[in-house]
C-alpha cells in the first residue's frame, strides 16, 4: 500500500526539475498576479484609487501596485470617475494604445452608468466606448470595493482560455 503523500511542497528529489500543469493555468497565474493598472483618474473616485494604492489598503498585496501612466505598459485600465463626452475620445485612444491582453474596471457609479450626471456632457457609462470587465458600485467606492473588483478580475482572468487565444492570434 502506498502511503499518502504528506509533503506540502514540491519535492525536486522525487519529481525532478519538472512541474506538470496546463498552459492556461501557467499563463493565467502569471497574468492575474501582476496586473499593472492604468489609472484613468477623472474625478473623486481617483482619490479612493490613490487610497487603495497607499499603505493602509495596499494594492501591492494583489500584485497591482505598479500604476503605469503609459498605456503601453499597463494591463488593466481603472476608469475612476466621471467620463465626459469630451474626455471619452481620449479615453478610447488610451485604451487602444494598451497592449493585449487588457482589461477594464469601471470604478464607481459615474464610470459604470453616468451616475447622477444625467446630462448633456457626460458619457452614460464607459461601456459605451470600451469593453468593461468589472463594474464597481459606490459613489465613490471604498478601497475595499476596488480591491474586491481586482480580485474578481483576477478570478475572471484565471478562467480565460489564454493558450488557445495566443495560438489563434
Amino acid at each position: 500500500m502506498v502511503p499518502a503523500n504528506t509533503e506540502l511542497t514540491y519535492n525536486s528529489k522525487i519529481e525532478g526539475e519538472v512541474i506538470v500543469s496546463t498552459a492556461d493555468a501557467v499563463i493565467n497565474w502569471i497574468r492575474s498576479n501582476s496586473m499593472w493598472p492604468m489609472p484613468m483618474g477623472l474625478a473623486c473616485c481617483a482619490i479612493e484609487l490613490m487610497a487603495t494604492a497607499a499603505s493602509r489598503f495596499d494594492i501591492a498585496r494583489f500584485g497591482a501596485e505598479v500604476m503605469r501612466f503609459s498605456p503601453k505598459q499597463a494591463d488593466v485600465m481603472i476608469v475612476a470617475g466621471t467620463v465626459t463626452y469630451k474626455m471619452s475620445s481620449a479615453l478610447r485612444r488610451i485604451y487602444d494604445q494598451m497592449a493585449e491582453p487588457k482589461w477594464v474596471i469601471a470604478m464607481g457609479a459615474c464610470a459604470s452608468t453616468g451616475g447622477m450626471y444625467r446630462s448633456y456632457a457626460v458619457l452614460q457609462g464607459v461601456d459605451r466606448i470600451v469593453p468593461v470587465d468589472v463594474y464597481v458600485s459606490g459613489c465613490p467606492p471604498r478601497p475595499e470595493a476596488l480591491l474586491d473588483a481586482l480580485i474578481k478580475l483576477q478570478q475572471k482572468v484565471k478562467r480565460e482560455p489564454s493558450a488557445s487565444k495566443l495560438l489563434s492570434a
Partner: protein
C-alpha cells in the same frame, strides 16, 4: 456703500444709456452694449475697479426680449467694493457684445465660457473658441430651449466613432434630475437620487 455709489453717478452723467439695475446686494447698472467697453474702462481706470471677478451670461427665455444679457462683476481691491455691470445683447438671434479681454486678460476664458454655453459672441475677442464642450459641438447647452438631458450629437473623434459606433445621446433621466436632499442626517438618504423613482427606462412614466 456711498464710496461706490459715486462712480455710478459719474457714469450716468457721461453716458445717457447708463441706468440703475435692481440689485439685492451690490450697486448695479445696466449699460447699452455700444457703451459697454467705455464704461468698463472708466470703471477700471478712473474708479479703481481693477479686478474682473466674473463674466456671466443670462438667457431670460425663448420669448423674452432682450433675451441675452452679459453680466460683469468688478471688484475694487483698494476700496473693497463690488459693482455689477449688465449689458443686454441687442440681437436675440445672434447675440453679440464687445469683448473685455483687452481690458482684463482674465476676461478671455470667462467670455469663452459664456460663448460656449449661451452662444453670445464677444466681438474683438482674441480667441473665441469653445472652452468646455468640444469644438464643433452644434448646441449651446445653457440656453433655455436646450434640454438638460442633451440632444443626440456625434462625438468629435471620427475614428473613435467609427470604432465604437457611439455618440452623445440624450441622457436617460429616469425620474431625474438627480438631486441631493438637504437636511438629511443619514448619508444614504441624502445621496443624490431622482425625485420621482416610480418610472425607469423599462417602466414607463405613469400617466404619460
Amino acid at each position: 456703500m456711498p464710496a461706490v455709489q459715486d462712480p455710478i453717478t459719474a457714469l450716468k452723467g457721461r453716458w445717457a444709456g447708463v441706468v440703475d439695475r435692481a440689485s439685492l446686494d451690490h450697486p448695479a447698472i445696466d449699460v447699452p452694449a455700444t457703451d459697454l467697453l467705455a464704461v468698463l474702462q472708466a470703471l477700471r481706470d478712473e474708479h479703481k475697479f481693477d479686478m474682473l471677478v466674473d463674466v456671466a451670461g443670462v438667457d431670460w427665455g425663448v420669448e423674452a426680449t432682450p433675451r441675452f444679457t452679459v453680466v460683469y462683476h468688478l471688484f475694487a481691491t483698494v476700496k473693497h467694493g463690488y459693482i455689477r455691470v449688465a449689458a443686454h445683447c441687442p440681437d436675440n438671434a445672434a447675440p453679440e457684445v464687445p469683448s473685455a479681454a483687452a481690458l482684463w486678460p482674465g476676461a478671455d476664458w470667462h467670455e469663452r465660457e459664456a460663448y460656449d454655453m449661451y452662444g453670445i459672441r464677444f466681438t474683438g475677442h482674441p480667441d473665441l473658441r469653445r472652452i468646455l464642450m468640444w469644438d464643433g459641438y452644434p448646441h449651446f447647452p445653457l440656453r433655455k430651449d436646450f434640454p438638460l438631458a442633451g440632444i443626440e450629437t456625434e462625438l468629435p473623434d471620427s475614428e473613435v466613432v467609427a470604432e465604437t459606433g457611439t455618440g452623445a445621446i440624450a441622457a436617460p433621466m429616469m425620474g431625474g434630475p438627480f438631486v441631493a436632499s438637504q437636511g438629511e442626517i443619514n448619508m444614504s438618504d441624502a445621496e443624490p437620487r431622482a425625485k420621482d423613482e416610480s418610472w425607469t427606462e423599462r417602466r414607463p412614466k405613469p400617466g404619460a
